[in-house]
């Protein structure tokens, strides 16, 4: 045990003296997280679309539309309303993109509806505001259905008044059930993504420093010492784990303090971070056993870390990935780490992200196990 800690302590001293570790483990991921939060936070900031109404009719049916179909939606924050004097004004606002869509209620609209003549409600949408236009159209369709209902109801009954017909409640209504948001904001997602992406580069020094020792000729001396080989391996692994946990903690706390990231319960996040560090250490140790020189290990590590990062959704949120890629991403620790953070996010989130944490520990066990069975190959001098 003491020998193991001695090896770890020696490795850590070496790492701390090498200032480039500080750059790669903390400065670069944090810098990128800050930039990404700024850029992508700006993009994500979604607002309710603005609709313009050009009411040239001002009759009873037109005011019913604006007052009873549109106004409640505005109160609920679904959309924002603006008035325009003429159709041309409305078109200009839409064309410039200041409004997502415009309603044009032509003169004589109320008269036509009440006297049973065909009437037209026009929706003009901005070509780039696809969803806004769709919503504008849906709202108009709903109103048209209401008018059609009254006409159909009276026709089928063969009498009655519109007031009576309207008094019959709609048979099917929607009830909004609010769901929690258990998803990271884009800024949080990318901060966490960068942290876990660079974690793989941070922890790789642990196990592969065996190769450094071989290059420097100190491995033979280490092996000559009266300590079991597994102790050497664990001492090396522990060095990487300590650096990994420290750098991840710094990044998580920095994102919380400086970038306004809201992570979940500290216990859950802490366990997830430790599990993530163990998984990263294991994967990198396993990969290192393929290499014979420190330089080779560095190259293979770079390729593996980048590929896993891309597949794991560090650069592109997993929600946007298509089927096959989403399944592939399950094979990366990155994906599980990010998913664990998402699980812990939100007001009624659990304290622990059990599934993802266990998945990461699974990665750690399997990969470290494989690395240890190939230990003999690593410790040749």
């Amino acid at each position: 045990m003491r020998a193991m800690l001695l090896i770890t302590a020696k490795d850590l001293r070496q790492r701390v003296r090498d200032r480039s570790l500080l750059l790669m483990a903390i400065l670069v991921p944090f810098g990128l997280a800050a930039i990404f939060s700024l850029v992508f936070g700006d993009v994500e900031d979604q607002q309710a679309p603005t609709f313009v109404v050009a009411d040239q009719d001002r009759g009873q049916i037109a005011t019913t539309f604006t007052g009873q179909a549109l106004a409640p939606l505005e109160r609920r924050g679904v959309l924002r309303l603006k008035k325009a004097g003429t159709e041309q004004d409305a078109r200009t606002l839409v064309e410039r993109g200041e409004a997502a869509a415009a309603y044009v209620i032509p003169a004589g609209f109320t008269r036509d509806v009440l006297s049973g003549r065909p009437a037209t409600l026009r929706v003009i949408g901005n070509v780039n505001a696809r969803i806004g236009t769709f919503v504008a159209r849906s709202v108009a369709d709903a109103f048209a259905a209401e008018v059609r209902y009254v006409q159909v109801a009276l026709a089928v009954k063969g009498g009655g008044s519109p007031q009576e017909a309207v008094a019959v409640a709609a048979p099917v209504t929607l009830e909004n059930l609010a769901a929690d948001r258990r998803q990271l904001s884009i800024g949080e997602y990318l901060s966490a993504g960068m942290a876990v992406f660079f974690l793989f580069f941070t922890v790789r020094f642990g196990f592969s420093s065996i190769l450094d020792e071989r290059r420097d000729g100190t491995l033979a001396r280490l092996l000559a010492a009266p300590i079991p080989r597994v102790t050497i391996a664990f001492g090396k692994l522990l060095g990487g784990i300590v650096v990994g946990v420290v750098s991840m903690t710094v990044l998580v706390v920095a994102a919380w303090l400086l970038l306004d990231a809201r992570w979940g319960h500290p216990v859950g996040v802490g366990l997830l971070v430790v599990a993530g560090v163990l998984a990263a250490t294991g994967v990198m140790a396993m990969v290192a056993t393929v290499a014979t020189t420190a330089e080779q290990a560095g190259n293979v590590h770079g390729v593996v870390a980048v590929l896993l990062g891309v597949l794991g959704g560090v650069f592109i949120p997993i929600q946007q990935m298509s089927g096959a890629l989403e399944v592939l991403s399950l094979l990366t620790p990155h994906r599980w780490f990010l998913e664990g953070l998402a699980d812990l996010h939100g007001e009624n989130a659990p304290m622990l992200a059990t599934g993802p944490t266990l998945a990461l520990l699974g990665f750690a066990t399997v990969t470290t196990g494989i690395a240890l069975t190939r230990l003999g190959r690593m410790l040749r001098t």
Binding site: S20, L23, G31, V43, F134, M321
Partner: protein, 377 residues
């Protein structure tokens, strides 16, 4: 001089990992990004239940209204998918929907969504479809004179003038439909990687200094100016090689179009000069390879994000777009967009070429001045 440039290029490809980072990685990234842009950002609506004929009608109508529907097993799963953002919202149709409708019992459909504008909008759209589909049932409820089925059939058969909703769209498309996800991904990755590879390639310049190669070159009867020119040419060659690999690779593999060939070539060349200039500055300013590599990564990815090479500039707000245009990336993106979207030529992208040329001149000036200082020390 050509020898120096050539050696720099050989050094780039001698390292086998660089083959991965320069050739394979950008292509993989373009593929992944192209596929995910291609899938579109259409919000998805989950539907639970919907077995009976009336319920099935509602589901069909929702589909026809343009919603992207996903069948979900049960309520808990629906909630889970909405909370994690995989679905924008979910509509739960209870098993007794059909029976309740025919017995005039009011039905409340749970609509699970997060309190966000996009989900609220989807709610308004779904509510509209529900109103339209159940209109005959509501008419039946008003009349109540005969069986439910008969009344619904009569209501459906009744022709009324109603209100017609006419819809049109105006304005010009920011991204024309002919521009594919791969086109967007390839342009942005071209810029990201050309610049990034230039900066990380600057490590070679530091190596040259550390190994004393530059001192030995200085001892030969070649003038300092020529050595500088050679190193600069080496940096340009590296940037151009990266750019050309992405341009031709994406065109061959994914059919990416680049617009007017002359204009695209001019933009790539000038942007490579900018990247090479930045590499000179980096190579001259840092003492160790690790420093240069780490800060190269930060600068390369950071500028790409700010400059719109990660998320399209079209999605940026006004202020952010102005900030973006402090980076060479944004100008080059504008240039490529002009070529592709407006069928521009080398003449119409002259303003962008001009701005990029200024970047290149300033960076090269700074880089050669610093490099001369460190090489002749």
């Amino acid at each position: 001089m050509t020898a120096i440039a050539w050696v720099n290029l050989v050094r780039l490809f001698r390292d086998r990992t660089n083959i991965f980072f320069v050739i394979i990685f950008p292509i993989i990234l373009i593929m992944v990004l192209g596929l995910s842009y291609g899938a579109g950002f259409a919000p998805r609506l989950g539907v639970v239940g919907g077995a009976g004929p009336q319920a099935a009608r509602l589901v069909t109508a929702l589909e026809r209204s343009g919603q992207t529907l996903v069948r979900v097993g049960d309520d808990a799963e629906a909630r889970e998918l909405v909370e994690s953002g995989r679905l924008a919202a979910a509509l739960i149709i209870p098993p007794d929907y059909d029976r309740a409708l025919s017995r005039y019992t009011r039905i409340v459909l749970p609509f699970v969504s997060r309190n966000e504008p996009s989900a609220l909008q989807m709610g308004a759209a779904v509510s509209s479809v529900v109103g339209q589909v159940t209109m005959p049932a509501r008419a039946a409820a008003y009349v109540r004179d005969g069986s439910f089925e008969q009344l619904v059939a009569r209501a459906e058969g009744t022709r009324v003038p109603g209100i017609t909703v006419s819809a049109e769209t105006i304005g010009s498309r920011v991204i024309p439909e002919s521009v594919s996800g791969f086109d967007i991904a390839a342009t942005s990755q071209l810029l990201l990687f050309t610049f990034l590879t230039s900066l990380t390639g600057a490590v070679a310049l530091i190596e040259t200094r550390q190994l004393g190669v530059s001192r030995r070159m200085y001892a030969t009867p070649i003038s300092t100016g020529r050595i500088l020119l050679g190193e600069a040419a080496g940096r340009v060659a590296v940037a151009l090689a990266q750019g050309l690999i992405i341009m031709f690779g994406s065109a061959l593999l994914f059919g990416v179009r680049w617009g007017d060939p002359l204009g695209a070539a001019a933009l790539l060349l000038v942007f490579s000069l900018v990247g090479a200039g930045a590499a000179m500055v980096f190579g001259a300013s840092f003492r160790t390879e690790q420093q240069a590599a780490a800060l190269g990564l930060l600068t390369g990815l950071g500028l790409a994000a700010i400059g719109g090479a990660m998320v399209p500039l079209d999605l940026f707000s006004g202020t952010m777009r102005q900030i973006a245009h402090l980076t060479p990336h944004a100008w080059a993106l504008d240039g490529f967009a002009e070529l592709l979207r407006e069928d521009g030529t080398v003449v119409t992208v002259l303003p962008q070429l001009g701005v990029l040329a200024i970047y290149a001149v300033v960076l090269f000036g700074l880089g050669s001045w610093r490099l001369r200082a460190v090489l002749t020390r």
